[in-house]
Point group: C2
Chain length 255, copies 2
DNA sequence: GTCTATAACCGGATAGAC
DNA sequence: GTCTATCCGGTTATAGAC
């Protein structure tokens, strides 16, 4: 998680460094807090930059001094959301050993922690969907967050007592991350009470996914698994270095 | 395809009806043509409503008289794109009987016909991704187009010589439509030369999908298939009537 | 050199006259 | 149906204050 994402600068780096107190980097913090609160209260589009600035007690020009666009304020949300998720699911991952339960815990906590921002996330997704946007989950700017999330999925598998076909093992975390993206996509569109449909989807698909993982070691499934895994490798090879199983990460002229 | 989508009204309904000539519904048509041309030339965001109006020889207010927003101009693209796709793949569907080949033909023609609008589609997707947008593929406004596309998938399966597990048969077209959406999502993010990665993805995943469909009749896979199919039904039940396997279709306060 | 503020600009959208 | 004038909000230019 970078400073850019959390809205923090060097303040409070600890006794080791010079620890530049940076008086008015509190301003930056104030702006982020205000923005996130207003986003939660009025939604993304319902919150104007003028409102954020005024509520935060700064001028609009000043807000733009710290954040180069309204979208960049969202990065703060990304970082925070990810951090909250990690905290929320670490307990389960330390105690539970069953793969399905571990997966369920991660998915449930993801949705639960994001729930207060449900409406916000919908509007958010609008800008995040643009491949050219730095907010796209596939963009290079999102790489750190994406890597964290993928590593979490690796942890889910490794800490479990499931036997995973070695062929599949390397790629599985990426595939599970993609699965999580699908769940989130569904959640964003889900307007059922309490997002009941999303939780039902999680219950049922987690079951299916774990079943597929188990089946993957069967001889019958071997060729299919091998082909699938090989595909992800080829796609990566066709893309630039460091790219993820889904394209993106390269800049594109926005117009 | 509705009038709204094509930008046509009753003009030219044929010798049967009164055929109200609707003098200046040509205006509407002019606006659409101009808009699509400018979108292709300068991209979606690079084209202003002022430019469209001025190029079309009307005032900006007049443009808004015909199309309630810039986004609504996109519906015209949707309809056109869909129509082109149907024309492009009908030949293959009439001659080819092998399921994998039929699926490949539909997917290839989809991407090929959309290719000129690749950049446009990227920006387009940004607005289409908003669950609240009428342009969301899951919105009720998109229902006609979605139904057409789903029926195309039904045709792909029915016209083939593949044996599909009866349990799966009803749901399969919806699932294949979802699969197509996934391909398009990938394509939008694909900046490889000629979108080579997308075509590779199609080649490989079509293979896997067809394999899965074939495997679905195995006794071993029965319970898994049954669970998956049952899930889609439950999700639909939790949603409003007429909803598709993925949520959406209900209006939501946009702010 | 780091911050803050005011006054525009631009483009999507609307009101209301003709 | 068609126009002009205007609003509104993201963004930028730029002038100053610490």
């Amino acid at each position: 998680m970078t400073d850019e994402q959390t809205g923090q600068t060097g303040a409070g780096v600890g006794p080791g460094g010079p620890a530049k107190p940076k008086k008015a980097d509190l301003t930056r913090r104030t702006i982020v807090e205000t923005a996130l609160r207003l986003f939660r209260e009025h939604g993304y589009e319902g919150t104007t930059m003028r409102a954020i600035a005024s509520e935060a007690g700064v001028s609009i020009g000043n807000a733009y001094y710290y954040f180069e666009s309204k979208e960049h304020l969202i990065q703060a949300y990304y970082g925070r959301s990810n951090a909250e998720h990690l905290v929320a699911c670490v307990d389960a991952l330390e105690t539970e050993r069953d793969l399905k339960q571990r997966l369920l815990a991660v998915l449930y906590t993801k949705i639960e922690t994001a729930q207060p921002y449900h409406r916000f996330a919908g509007q958010l997704f609008k800008t995040a969907a643009d491949p050219a946007s730095p907010l796209s989950p596939f963009s290079s700017e999102s790489m750190p967050t994406r890597r964290e999330a993928t590593e979490l999925m690796a942890l889910v598998v490794e800490g479990s007592d499931a036997r995973v076909s070695p062929e599949l093992a390397d790629e599985l975390p990426n595939l599970l991350w993609l699965y999580l993206m699908g769940i989130i996509l569904f959640w964003i569109h889900d307007d059922s009470a309490g997002c009941a449909r999303t939780f039902k989807l999680i219950d049922r698909t987690a079951d299916i996914v774990v079943n597929l993982i188990n089946l993957s070691s069967l001889t019958l499934m071997r060729p299919l698994v091998r082909r699938a895994v090989q595909l992800t490798g080829e796609l990566r090879a066709l893309a630039g270095p460091g790219a993820e199983p889904v394209p993106g990460g390269q800049e594109r002229s926005s117009e």
